[in-house]
């Protein structure tokens, strides 16, 4: 069957089982849009800014585990998409981004809307391709999906010059991908897994530290089984929330810069640490020198060898897919007669319970002003802990992480690595489209939400009933918090003046707006909003301007050097 390049592109997407393409048309992709117009296999979602197209594809991918797809034009189309691509790259999200390019003959001529898309995106993609020959188009698309979704996932860009999309060629998508240069390891080394099991049995103060890799590998079941089998404490990174049920008693909370006291203390004082799909980043372990002060043996399971022994020296590295490695580890432990020293383990739990007893997440529940933590807790209650929660970046993000315990993976959708403000609303669109009947909340702040506020228009067009929970403290809260702690209360440019009336703004886009100013109105407002199943409701919660996120590990400090709420 002979098709033109645009039709081939679209056919490839259909054959990959793509449900949604998030995009924005422009000159270089007009042929592709024409081909989209003539098909009905997938739905195209027209965003209002290319950054949002990529975030929406990202939200779709995070909440489903499938590859997200975005389509943008050349020049400003792709440069606008870069923030979204970098966001997905930092969090290892499977994604294919298709960008139009000026015609082959015009490349390098400083043509209208020309930009070196391959060069600009190279440092923030898993791989990218410039299709220079129509013969290579289908095979390149196949490789792009394969690379994006296997190994450590990540975004892959396919840059297609306009003339290629107009050329005819026979369509065939039956090829298999065989790349001599790319063969990700799945199965872990059996000898190493045996060593790991032995080390776990020898532990006196064990700790399981798991991250986004568990979610990406769909290994929550295995992580939960292993943790229960061993009776060890488990902590999740920001990216890993939901991978272990957060309401379980063996869960000690999130760790890191805004982690719980007990999680950070247990991490530092453990003698055997099992790191699963996590990468010891600076927001998690703080200073590596401080972390190394206490001796411990570390087992590290990761599909990416470059994540192992990068910031922290590891004793037993295991390269492989988390689910496959955990399966084997569980089998070994079950078959063994050995068990961890029960007396030592119960002493360790007693210590952890003592740390827990300081109740590091307490806040003023009697406050006459709305406390942001209170809003998140009520959100959890009203949604029975079952909502998908997307966030932007800052204080609200940390409060959502701390006060909305997730019992399932892929419910927590946040930009962890890049920390992208403006992520929440478009990501929520992708989540809601993938899960039309689910409750989807975008927890945000008045500063973040304005970075992609235009997507309220997309939500109207496609009837996306996201619930926006705006924690409005009239400050870039996290910036203000750092300025308060480390810059002598000099609040340089962190006050958000001239805010819009969010209620009217929501209404002008055709949505429902609510302003909530008293604590007693929080729960009723949330109930009313979530009862409106067909509508986007923008809830503007006027919260305490001075509230800070605790505990807090100052940048570069050790994870046990926490500032706690009561000390201030």
């Amino acid at each position: 069957m002979e098709l033109n390049g645009a039709e081939i592109t679209v056919k490839c997407l259909a054959d990959e089982g793509v449900e949604f393409v998030f995009g924005y048309p422009g000159g270089a992709v007009l042929n592709i849009y024409d081909a989209i117009f003539k098909q009905d296999k997938f739905k195209h979602v027209l965003v209002r800014h290319e950054q949002a197209a990529v975030h929406a594809a990202d939200g779709y991918a995070r909440s489903t585990g499938k590859v997200g797809v975005a389509l943008v034009t050349s020049g400003p189309g792709i440069t606008n998409a870069v923030t979204g691509i970098a966001t997905a790259y930092m969090d290892s999200i499977p994604m294919v981004v298709i960008s139009g390019q000026v015609p082959t003959a015009a490349i390098g001529m400083d043509a209208f809307q020309e930009v070196d898309a391959i060069g600009i995106t190279r440092p923030c993609v898993k791989h990218n391709f410039l299709v220079k020959d129509i013969k290579d188009l289908a095979a390149t698309m196949k490789k792009a999906f394969y690379i994006a979704s296997t190994g450590r996932p990540g975004p892959v860009l396919v840059d297609i010059p306009k003339d290629i999309t107009g050329q005819p060629f026979a369509y065939d998508y039956s090829m298999s991908v065989d790349m001599r240069s790319y063969n990700p390891v799945v199965k872990g080394h059996t000898g190493q897994i045996k060593k790991a099991a032995q080390m776990l049995f020898e532990a006196k103060r064990p700790m399981i530290y798991s991250g986004g890799g568990v979610v990406l590998s769909n290994a929550s079941k295995q992580l939960t089984e292993l943790t229960r089998l061993l009776g060890f404490p488990c902590t999740n990174t920001l990216m890993g929330l939901g991978a272990y049920p957060a309401t379980d008693k063996q869960f000690v909370g999130m760790l890191g810069m805004h982690g719980t006291y007990e999680a950070n203390m247990a991490m530092q004082h453990s003698d055997v640490l099992l790191a699963v799909g996590a990468r010891f980043d600076d927001r998690v372990i703080g200073s590596p020198e401080h972390f190394a002060r206490d001796a411990r043996r570390i087992i590290h399971i990761d599909i990416d060898p470059s994540s192992i022994s990068k910031r922290v020296k590891v004793d037993v590295p295991i390269v492989g897919d988390v689910a496959a490695v955990l399966d084997e580890l569980i089998k070994l432990i079950k078959a063994s007669k050995e068990r961890t020293d029960a007396t030592a383990l119960s002493a360790w739990w007693a210590q952890i319970d003592e740390w827990r007893s300081i109740d590091c997440l307490k806040f003023d529940r009697a406050s006459a002003i709305i406390k942001p933590q209170f809003v998140v807790q009520k959100l959890w209650e009203v949604t029975k802990g079952e909502a998908f929660v997307t966030t932007d970046v800052g204080q609200h993000q940390m409060w959502a992480a701390q006060y909305y315990p997730f019992n399932e993976p892929r419910r927590w959708i946040t930009s962890g690595g890049l920390g992208t403000m403006g992520f929440g609303l478009p990501a929520a669109m992708g989540v809601q489209l993938a899960h039309p009947d689910a409750q989807v909340a975008c927890v945000t702040g008045e500063s973040s939400i304005q970075m992609c506020i235009q997507e309220l228009s997309t939500c109207k067009q496609y009837h996306i009933p996201v619930k926006v929970v705006n924690l409005n403290n009239r400050y870039m809260g996290m910036v203000r918090q750092w300025q308060e702690f480390f810059y002598g209360n000099r609040y340089a440019e962190s006050y958000m003046e001239s805010l819009p009336d969010f209620v009217k703004l929501a209404e002008s886009y055709g949505h429902v707006g609510m302003k909530i100013e008293k604590p007693e109105d929080v729960e009723p407002a949330l109930r009313e909003a979530f009862a409106m199943k067909e509508r986007l409701v923008f809830m503007d919660f006027i919260t305490d301007q001075t509230e800070n996120v605790f505990p807090m590990v100052p940048g570069g400090a050790g994870i046990t050097e926490m500032i706690l709420a009561e000390e201030l």
Binding site: R122, L130, S181, P305, S306
Partner: protein, 163 residues
Amino acid sequence: MRHIISILMENEAGALSRVAGLFSARGYNIESLTVAPTEDATLSRMTIVTRGSEEVIEQIVKQLNKLIDVVKILDLSDGSHIERELMLVKVRAFGKDREEMKRMADIFRGRIIDVTEKTYTIELTGPGTKLDAFIEAIDPVAILETVRTGASGIGRGERILKV
């Protein structure tokens, strides 16, 4: 420590910029980098000379392996290997210097590949240290121009980097 790393990679447009970009993005240093296609035209072989602690070199190798276009890597410094570099030096060669330059080229087993009334162009091959020694040995004022390829390397004996 100095390491010499050999990389076999797909001979694709942009492959070189992926490697160079990786080094600059992650703050690794490159002392020299050479690249050319191999006997198999679909493969390029690159030789990178870099410096770093064992941890840094380990990361460099891992990060290089992560590049989709990279097929195989060998840290030649892990075993015994041979290194060669080519240098072309244009030197002033008139009056009493002319005979002296010829003699120096002979001592270093260089070849004079271009001659004018006033200059010689000398071709010299060897490990980088030998080329350095030659530069040291001749009068700096006499050097008009130098160009070096950077090191190429290959493992000794049975040590082979091949797909």
